[in-house]
Symmetry: C2
Subunit: 194 residues, 2 copies
Amino acid sequence: MKNRIITISREFGSGGRTIGKEVAEKLGIPCYDEKLINKIAEKSGFAKEYIADRGEYAPSVNWFVNMFGGRDYNGHSISDDLWKIQREIILELAEKGPCVIVGRCADYILKDTADCLTVFIHASKEKRAERIVKLYGERDEKPEQRLLDKDKRRKVYYQMYTDTEWGVADNYHISLDSGIFGIEKCVELITGLY
Amino acid sequence: MKNRIITISREFGSGGRTIGKEVAEKLGIPCYDEKLINKIAEKSGFAKEYIADRGEYAPSVNWFVNMFGGRDYNGHSISDDLWKIQREIILELAEKGPCVIVGRCADYILKDTADCLTVFIHASKEKRAERIVKLYGERDEKPEQRLLDKDKRRKVYYQMYTDTEWGVADNYHISLDSGIFGIEKCVELITGLY
């Protein structure tokens, strides 16, 4: 019997992480987000900050750089190592029991091995900019620019390792605009569907 | 005060039309699908079959043909006339009162003039193939091929007239996989959100 897993993919600043945490709390199952990063850090020896960034984001928005940059003579890169370890840990967690997994291409990794409810959380640029300033404060770089950069790098990463397009409705069971419905309504809808 | 409208965009064979009809019935508001085609036929003089096809589908999947084929010396085509009339009727309907509008880029047309809940209904190719054979019967062309052709032409049409990408989660408030949740659950979710 396959375990029931909720995977949450999300745009940066959409509140997807908070939604994942609250859904897990309501359902009384674990949520892997920070905990997942810790596990990957333990197994890989990489720093948490490195994993948080490079386990979901391509180093550059340039496809050519990502495909051929930083690779050894066998065509293999540190990003590939991280992808492999991340993948193994996600498969192990899904074996252990029902849970919520935020990000890290879990929807793709688990598509044949778990009974997944795949969720995509998005919101308008304005709503997300508002949220990231509230959460992470002002930076030199404008919030709109931070969003654009993060979105592009996440999209490239997803495409590179899954050969599927990130953010296309077809790839998720349900996609929700958290800026329109609010965090609480999204949590209610997802727990209701589980 | 802007009227509350539900716009339903959908993949061919996903059951989006049925969902729109049932949502409208439950909410006691009109659903414009067949009725919309009739209105466009009245105003334009075009045949209903022509409107059903060419008011949502590009004539070809080739962007170049759509952009430059069948145009007069002013760069204007019959598709453009149909788009204009369709747009006017959708704007008029939205002025009249709350309703459900299925397809025809209504989400894009109404984005600044009505209080819309924008919905996208999709399903896997297998589920949709099953549904179209059940609904429309077998044809010479395989159901998978019919889907592929319809999807591509709808995508091209949407891109051509709205300059926005069809089927990208970001462009809808909620996207649902009707193959996973079933028609009834989708109806329940949408009416609940209205």
